[in-house]
Symmetry: D4
Subunit: 152 residues, 8 copies
């Protein structure tokens, strides 16, 4: 079973993104978590993204707030599917991050989730949907999960 | 090679979504296109989505405008990854469709693209990124495409 | 006297929608309350909505937050008048729910109320206005209510 | 069969509201159309609204643009259900009219439709849904209409 | 010296509007304060506004939240200058009230202040500017006030 | 009869502000028109505003687009009532100008009109309402005008 | 080494702007801080800005909230580069200040930072970038700073 | 006299950015223009930005539309002052680009100009203001320019 790379742009994004990691834990999916800023340390980000082998990773989840360049920059440096999570917070409460993530110009796609922790949970589930394309166990876990949330 | 299902909510969305179909044609990807409204004909939509076998389809692209329920309704009825494209148009020019697509509650993920034709192109590329996880030919095509747009 | 069906998309919407139920209690109107998600359990929603007989129900109130597909999905499955209540909350505080509810494409109407608990109160009053079209007692109750709030 | 009162706040709103009138014509519903401004001629508006007998009218449709006070003012002067249609246009393209119509304070409900001509069509259909509560012919017409738009 | 009529649409608007009253107290200006809703009690509002003699009143300040019809309705019923104050609060925090007040259609002007208590203070000062056109004492008080806030 | 000073921030604002001038012409009100930018020529603006004698002028209308500092700067330099008109245009179509004009901090009031030409017409009418406080002829003209627009 | 002038429009803006001053302290940059309102005391503002000699000052940082005219007014009175910081707060939480600062008409540039304290920190760093154009020590400090925040 | 580097993210941004180049031509400032996408060709962008010597360049102007990562990515790779220009266009008409450019997290500053061609003109003038800190000729040109636009 492949892993999912999970990156946030700042330590302060950790709490919101934890919801994705908890979802992976619940579903038994492996992930690699990093705090790497596209603005404050582009080289370290580049190095990590360049190291993600398609044989080992199924997707990258990237979460960032405000002028959230991270998901787009990741998508520019890998051909793995990139899932963006706009972080809630700041004066605009995440609508800036949403626009910075979802309004990608043609050629470099990012799949954006909802702002904040709902988006983080769904980012994990979305990555598992991709895995489930060729992994029956992942599919079975998604089916169980879907059943479990019906009355949430 | 698997196919991609492409659904729009109304005939008037066809023109914008054509950019996705043209991208698939350029990359040699097969797709199945339907006009099916979540609001005007939920039964026909349900029937089509229920018929999408994971062995045959890699993803569903769903495009709709205004109160764009289509992508979320599709994601509620399949475990395939669903890619949403908010259609440009109407009094709010697509910001309504964007919010209706991207702000999915936790449990049912949709990966949202940008509003309008840029989003449609990227929806196709995003689907191919998913295919490329286990399809080397798809990966090679993406690499060629990426090379070709560097100076766009 | 007919009943009103009241549906919310998630347990967390209960508190806001309680204002509608309290208004019905105050006016002596019967209702049937359900938590049913259009995204997490579309079959259960469909089943409930399909069971609403026009001889027994006068309207459906549907409240949901974020990408609030619930009211539109209900309106797609019944010909009873559907009253939508956008729930306050999340990063966008309900403007996403408002657009997802009010911007219905032509053919499938939903009458949207204000975001949050004001909308919930008014949803109940709006349902009673419909009942009052053919129910003089309902009309009398509305008149009394109107009198009582003049100095609120 | 009862009639529906249709009011717009200005002559320039006529074109958008025509979609409601055409929908009534198609469904064989009678209506009374007026141009009456809540801001420029509140007395004439008051007089017309006060004249609407519940035995004769099933609903009032009120369309206005910008600071669209009309639907709320009508709802303050009658107990008939009021359906508001925010008119598209002006610098804000109707989002001002939407907020002015949908964000009613508790006590005086208005059911808001989408901005512009989609909203006008749906306003007519919504009024007919109310009529259909006690009018089987109206219900039959709605069923036929719903069938006819499935592939729109 | 003339008086200023100050109206708010709901008891809950009192606290924000108090800033206007305190400003009048500070400047020694007389006012008449009322809670009168354009939606819940249009007749009482009409009666009060109709009673405002130009020989006695210099302006009307009207504050309301959400779909704030009050200032426009007042301006429709008097030829005194009307000053609108959008109340902060609700899911949209006053941007709905702002649009409902400032976006008046041509023919019936309302001068809108800022959202919330800054707007309430300025509404009072604005009324005094109008008085100062023909009242030298008012002018002198404004000059003193202006001096006093230079370093605020 | 006093005059009204009318200032726009740029030659390109002239067309929209003409609606105010035409309204003054229709009502027989004298005005002094200037193109004076708060950003490009603050000295010339200051000089003109400083020259406005309260014995001669009843109000200042100031119209500007984008980061519309003009009305606030005028209000900072005179104690005459200042009426702001946000100009339509630019990427944000006037919502930037609206916020720059209406959101004045406490202490320095500006009465904002609607965005664009509706706002320009109303600015003129609002100035005449101020004049009418002490000028019976102005009041009579307003009454005639109000009568003439009832069916607009 | 030149100094930077730092102005805020109100005492209440002090706390947010402190982040700029702390950043200067950390980098050893001299500054001159003033509270000067463009609306409440334009003369004092003018006097201070006119006194800023290019031989002594490298830039002006101006922070203000709501209808934030301050940065634009400063840029109109000096040829030093002006850095604007929209203050967070009020009903619109700073989006009004952002539009009032960033949407400058052509001819008079202001470089806008993010809303609130992030913007204040960056305003200081941006001023130091300008100094570093001709000051190697400033450049060295920026390099150290950049190194220090890589893992923030 | 130093040069200014001018980068746009796409060929389609050329027309709007031409206003900056024309302004430089008018003022006799040298520039180096490139079309380099942060998303489609990050390596080429990196290479160009890394080549900008502080001894040769005074600033970088970066213009991009939609999820405009370009200015922030440039600011992450150089210590020269970066001036961002949000391009007008797309479904959101540039408000997405504005948020993506101006809402930079602390540590990496970008000075944002207005959306579209006004922003492009001002970007050039802002760069010249930076040059004028140590270049008297640049200062003189700015003074002439300022004089020339007083009556624009």
């Amino acid at each position: 079973m492949k892993k999912v790379a999970v990156i946030v742009g700042s330590k302060s994004d950790r709490e919101q993104m934890n919801k994705a990691l908890e979802t992976f834990d619940k579903l038994g999916v492996n992930y690699e978590f990093r705090v790497l800023s596209a603005h404050r340390d582009p080289e370290a980000l580049h190095e990590f993204v360049a190291s993600l082998e398609p044989s080992e990773y199924a997707a990258v989840i990237a979460g960032a707030g405000m002028a959230a360049a991270l998901p787009g920059c990741v998508a520019a440096q890998t051909l793995l599917p990139v899932i963006g999570v706009p972080m809630k917070g700041g004066a605009l409460n995440g609508v800036d991050a949403l626009y910075s993530i979802v309004q990608m110009p043609k050629g470099v796609p990012v799949g954006s989730m909802a702002i904040g922790s709902s988006g983080a949970v769904n980012a994990a589930l979305y990555a598992v949907r991709m895995m489930a394309l060729t992994d029956d166990e992942a599919r079975k876990k998604l089916e169980e999960y879907r059943e479990s949330i019906k009355t949430a």
